[in-house]
């Protein structure tokens, strides 16, 4: 049987009804939620499935002999399988549940990082989020390794030549974002990973921003680690994923010690559990894992191509409208870009633009977006960032644009 043709048109009006929060009024105006890069809203399916776990089969997992524990374990491990399929990992045990992207990166820095020595180098990029900078700085302090940073162009694109030049036999690890949260730039991951592997470095991809907007196939990318958070993928906060190649994870020492991560404990010797449990000490965020599974079901049903097509339309329209506003400067104009419209308005501080937009019902982020080096690069203290989701509409972009013009009037 032939697979049905993917439907590239989303019925956005209907989809919005799946998100209870989107129908509310703020300051007497309909909420226009354009802060999706900070966190996405949750569909009813996710909210219900988490409430259902607590109401119907709340129990600890992996150890109970009773029926509720079995149900909870099945649901939690079922969610792991959903994640595996979603990112096309080869094996289920390559999917480690963590609190979020930050914890995933810290896990790798702490555990894999024990192999790093003085003289080794870690290569990151100028567009990284603080959570993909600071763990490596801490690792460098502990290990004596050196942190190197590939610069970005004034369009917000990674300088590929410079990246290639900075790679060398000393490079042990490369950590790079898939999609910049401050600029929207999409990095050419396959090329970067190929180059890094060429010098024998392992590659960690920060997928926090990408996972809701771009297809992720960890085998096609051939990345060694891929980290993301559930809450930016329409799932709950407090749950995230570290994908790692099994051979690497197997060879890595455990990170946190505790229950679930052990096979046998005595005061003479403790042996550790198999993957993925070796890296999952303690009772996990069971409801979170199950909720993330429900979120993946939801977005998988819409289909990545349809989501990407709609978000592309929103970003193109918003960019075009924004460019027509005198004094507006787009920060981040990479050719390959998704979901993020970062900008400044001449003579108005981003924080003031944010307040005036909020008054119009528009939720955006105003600040440095945890990317202070990016702000330094562009010589601004902060930007206004509107970030889109498949549930946003062209009409909402119009409200945003109108709000920016309103800010100019207030400051006129």
């Amino acid at each position: 049987m032939n697979a049905p043709m993917p439907n590239l048109m989303l019925d956005v009006a209907r989809l919005r009804m799946d998100f209870p929060i989107l129908s509310q009024m703020v300051h007497g105006k309909p909420l226009v939620y354009l802060d999706n890069a900070a966190t996405t809203q949750k569909p009813r399916a996710v909210i219900d499935c988490m409430a259902n776990y607590y109401a119907e089969y709340n129990a600890n997992i992996h150890r109970g002999v009773h029926i509720l524990s079995q149900q909870a374990t099945d649901a939690y491990e079922g969610a792991r399988e959903k994640v595996r399929r979603f990112i096309n990992a080869a094996r289920r045990e390559e999917v480690i549940f963590v609190r979020g992207t930050t914890e995933a990166i810290n896990l790798v820095a702490s555990s894999y990082g024990q192999r790093l020595w003085p003289g080794n180098e870690i290569l990151i990029t100028e567009m990284e989020h603080h959570s993909n900078i600071v763990p490596w700085q801490l690792l460098c302090e502990r290990s004596g390794a050196v942190l190197r940073v590939t610069p970005i162009s004034d369009a917000g694109e990674l300088c590929l030549d410079e990246f290639e030049r900075q790679l060398g036999p000393a490079t042990r690890l490369v950590a790079v974002t898939h999609l910049s949260n401050a600029l929207g730039s999409i990095n050419p991951l396959r090329r970067l990973i190929e180059l890094a592997h060429g010098v024998g470095a392992v590659v960690l991809v920060d997928g926090a921003q990408a996972v809701a907007h771009l297809p992720v196939d960890v085998q096609a990318l051939d990345c060694d680690f891929y980290a993301f958070s559930g809450h930016k993928l329409y799932g709950p906060t407090g749950i995230g994923v570290l994908y790692g190649k099994a051979a690497l994870l197997d060879a890595m020492p455990p990170w946190q010690g505790g229950g679930d991560m052990i096979r046998e404990v005595s005061f003479a010797k403790t042996t550790y559990n198999d993957l993925p449990f070796k890296f999952e000490a303690g009772t996990p965020h069971i409801a979170g894992g199950i909720g993330l599974g429900a979120a993946i079901d939801y977005v998988s049903k819409l289909g990545q191509p349809a989501i990407a097509a709609h978000e592309h339309d929103l970003l193109s329209y918003a960019s075009e409208q924004a460019r027509a506003i005198p004094g507006l400067r787009l920060i981040g104009t990479a050719r390959e870009k998704a979901s993020i419209l970062s900008f400044t308005v001449a003579g108005i501080h981003p924080h003031d633009v944010g307040t005036i937009l909020d008054d119009a019902g528009v939720a955006v982020r105003a600040g440095h977006h945890c990317t202070m080096p990016v702000m330094t690069h562009f010589g601004v203290p902060a930007t206004v960032r509107a970030s889109f989701s498949f549930y946003n509409t062209i009409e909402e972009v119009d409200v945003l644009i109108h709000g920016i013009r309103r800010a100019q009037e207030v400051f006129g």
Partner: protein, 149 residues
């Protein structure tokens, strides 16, 4: 909308555009730095305090309209005031912008009262008080930059 207009009154926008007492202060004997990590606002305050009286004060830095206008208005208001008067004004100002000045006869803060609209915008209170926290640090000779977080 009227709340927004209360926040961004003409006087505030004017002080943001053309802040008073902006720049370095020659002969200053007190300094402090203020920082709001939420939005990246930074300001440096320099004072010349003689026998407990603020003879002169100026500020420098980058900030939003609210923090810049507040610093500008504050430096206007504190010239010639004693340290004790300045600290008392800080208390009254904080009550003004947080909406806790429920006293029978609120103390008049003159032009500073233009910032009363901030009380409707709780997340912006830190912007309005950054200069004042920095002032306190300068008067108490705190060496670490003060942070609103």
């Amino acid at each position: 909308m009227s709340e927004l207009r209360d926040l961004y009154q003409e006087l505030i926008v004017d002080h943001y555009r053309r802040p008073h007492n902006y720049g370095p202060l020659v002969g200053a004997n007190r300094h402090a730095e203020g920082f709001n990590p939420l939005c990246g606002d930074r300001l440096t305050l320099s004072l010349n305090v003689v026998d407990g009286m603020i003879k002169e004060l100026r500020f420098e830095g980058v900030g939003c309209a609210i923090s810049t206008a507040s610093a500008s208005l504050m430096t206007d208001a504190l010239k010639g005031k004693t340290e004790a008067q300045a600290e008392a004004m800080f208390q009254h100002f904080q009550a003004l912008v947080t909406g806790t000045d429920k006293a029978e006869a609120p103390v008049s803060l003159g032009k500073l009262e233009v910032l009363a609209g901030v009380r409707e915008f709780p997340v912006r209170v830190k912007c309005a008080t950054l200069a004042w926290h920095t002032l306190l640090a300068a008067l108490h000779s705190v060496k670490q930059p003060v942070s609103t977080e």
